[in-house]
């Protein structure tokens, strides 16, 4: 188990390294950062000043190394627009996004696990069709549009929920549903196909031949095996949802790092954008690492050599 963890750690480190490199280059290469930072109507002379001040004229590699050194000490540079340290801005807003992400994940799991299991026990019945409809609809629903519709319906007409801002928990209800609903189909499909596969496997037939009660077979043998891939997917989906928060936070004006990213992109505030991309990537990589660990814990075939 230990050396499985070590192996995963080394891979994680390399991924973070490459991701930081890629995100750094992406921003620099896809357009002249100096012009973007200097803003519209800036004179050539101002652009040159910005280029020199931020050291964009140095070769990319050196810029990267310099940036990486500072990043390791926690200095992600300064936002030219807010002129605050980027790290401080992120720390203030990360809480909102994480809460949104985690609650969206819980919502998705809360909807998909029961439905997925029920659909697998009685395939081709009404419950199966309901589950499939919800999952197909979920995949086709543009999350931002779904958010707006909810705003109109719940926020304006029924006035049940606040439509923007991030004060009370009530503020999170609609964004959670909007973000979570998009991930529900992936979970439901995985649980349903996983359960169907396990239920037709040899060891379930052995369990039935042993005369175990149907409920026990379902819970102890079937679900236990079918849940393993779901854990890995949960980690990946949480990563995607954090990535997708930019859309939801802009619709509901939730001041998380997604919203900050959108605003910074609008002002081409490069250090902030790049820091957020890097942060989200690292969160994703760490999450998948934890997902693998949990997976190894759940599955003895990996845990015990």
């Amino acid at each position: 188990m230990l050396q499985y963890t070590l192996k995963r750690l080394v891979v994680t480190f390399f991924v973070i390294l490459v991701v930081s490199l890629v995100s750094f280059m992406l921003i620099r290469v896809s357009g002249d950062p100096a012009i973007a930072l200097a803003g519209e109507g800036a004179t050539q002379q101002e652009i040159e000043y910005v280029r020199h001040h931020y050291g964009f004229d140095r070769p990319l590699i050196i810029q990267y190394v310099d940036w990486a050194k500072k990043a390791l000490q926690g200095d992600l540079g300064e936002s030219p627009y807010f002129n605050e340290p980027v790290l401080k801005m992120i720390r203030e807003r990360i809480g909102v996004t994480m809460t949104l992400g985690v609650s969206a994940l819980l919502f998705a799991l809360f909807v998909s696990i029961p439905l997925g299991v029920l659909a697998s026990i009685r395939p081709n019945t009404w419950i199966d069709r309901v589950a499939l409809t919800i999952s197909v609809m979920g995949q086709a629903m543009p999350s931002f549009w779904f958010g707006l519709i909810m705003i109109i319906f719940f926020g304006v007409t029924l006035r049940w929920l606040p439509i923007s801002g991030s004060g009370s928990p009530a503020h999170y209800v609609m964004p959670t549903i909007a973000l979570g609903y998009y991930a529900t189909p992936a979970f439901m499909r995985l649980i349903r196909s996983g359960m169907l596969e396990v239920l037709s496997s040899d060891h379930i037939r052995t369990a039935r031949a042993k005369g175990l009660r149907w409920g026990k077979i379902l819970y102890k043998h079937a679900l236990r095996n079918a849940i393993i891939p779901v854990v890995a997917l949960a980690a990946v989906q949480l990563g995607f949802m954090l990535g997708g928060s930019i859309v939801i936070e802009s619709v509901f004006a939730l001041h998380g790092i997604g919203y900050l990213a959108w605003v910074s992109i609008g002002r081409s505030d490069l250090p902030v954008v790049q820091a957020i991309i890097l942060l989200l990537s690292m969160i994703y990589v760490v999450l998948t690492f934890l997902g693998d660990l949990l997976n190894a814990f759940l599955d003895p075939r990996i845990r015990v050599r």
Partner: protein, 311 residues
């Protein structure tokens, strides 16, 4: 079933065939697929939706006489016909710049279909090449491709797309290129596992032993068996690409005005949505139906070409 036909026994013994159970003639894989397509409800609905919108896009000029770009400032925000003040001149009303909303919707379908399809094609090429080479060669190639996939999945697709488009400047070609290079991961993952499965079958070894070159094996022996998986993923990815484009346009970082893109129309309609909700419901529903159609088509393809169809 032949009624009185007699089937001469191996050494001439005569015994009527009838009553020996129906001679089950197994259909070819192609026939199995077509047979199941005819009564797979999801597949049919999906095909109908997609076809309808496709025809709408192709015959757009016939459907509406208005030009989606011309503005009639005197007819701003005319509600659709089902509203009290609606008129049949503008069945779906007009937007905040007085442009006919039906024509924008119809021409918008071209944008969505074009972007969705071309992004999928780019993603398919990248994903298939990476996935198949990882699956076929295994070992170091497999590890390298696995690493590239992990890095791609780590980068938040929407965020990166928005950032890059913002810097380069939004246009249809840029969006297609950026999205195409960002959504190939599902192709790579699925094709990698299916290639590994196909490679474990003896007929790949037999082809190798028959003297086939690696390329010939990959494209003439392995690819035909991956085709149904590929089609399923391709259809689902078109839907995903369309949604991503709509999100980008909604954030203002996708297709730029005045091009009629459904995501952009929702974004433009946002300010007025409380009084004229149709401004966001109409494009939203259109988007939903197109992507729903794509997903139903994809799921239908998966059921129709499921392996047990061959056994």
């Amino acid at each position: 079933m032949s009624d009185a036909a007699t089937h001469p026994g191996p050494n001439g013994a005569v015994a009527p065939d009838e009553g020996l159970g129906r001679q089950v003639v197994f259909p070819t894989p192609g026939q199995v697929m077509r047979m199941r397509m005819r009564h797979h409800k999801g597949f049919i609905f999906g095909a109908v939706f997609v076809l309808a919108i496709f025809l709408m896009a192709v015959f757009a000029p016939m459907l509406t006489s208005y030009n989606p770009y011309t503005q009639h400032l005197s007819h701003r925000l005319v509600p659709p016909v089902w509203d009290a003040k609606g008129t049949w001149k503008h069945p779906l009303g007009t937007d905040n710049l007085g442009r006919d909303y039906l024509s924008r919707l119809v021409y918008g379908s071209r944008v969505s279909l074009l972007i969705g399809f071309s992004c999928m094609l780019i993603a398919m090429v990248i994903g298939t090449l990476l996935g198949m080479s990882a699956g076929y060669f295994g070992g170091k190639v497999d590890m390298l491709v696995g690493f590239i996939i992990t890095v791609r999945l780590a980068l938040p697709a929407v965020l990166v797309a928005v950032a890059v488009v913002a810097l380069i400047g939004g246009s249809m070609q840029v969006v297609i290129l950026v999205l195409g290079c960002l959504i190939w991961d599902r192709f790579a993952v699925v094709l990698r596992t299916s290639t590994q499965q196909v490679c474990s079958m003896d007929y790949v070894d037999a082809a190798r032993a028959a003297g086939c070159s690696t390329l010939r094996i990959m494209f003439r022996e392995i690819l035909p068996n991956l085709f149904n998986n590929l089609m399923v993923i391709a259809t689902l990815e078109i839907g995903r690409a369309i949604l991503l484009e709509a999100a980008l346009s909604f954030l203002g970082m996708g297709v730029q005005p005045p091009t009629p893109s459904w995501g952009l129309m929702i974004s433009e309609g946002k300010e007025y949505m409380l009084f004229q909700p149709y401004l966001i419901t109409v494009p939203g529903v259109a988007l939903f139906i197109l992507v729903l159609g794509m997903n139903l088509l994809g799921d239908g393809l998966r059921d129709v070409t499921a392996p047990e169809g061959q056994a």
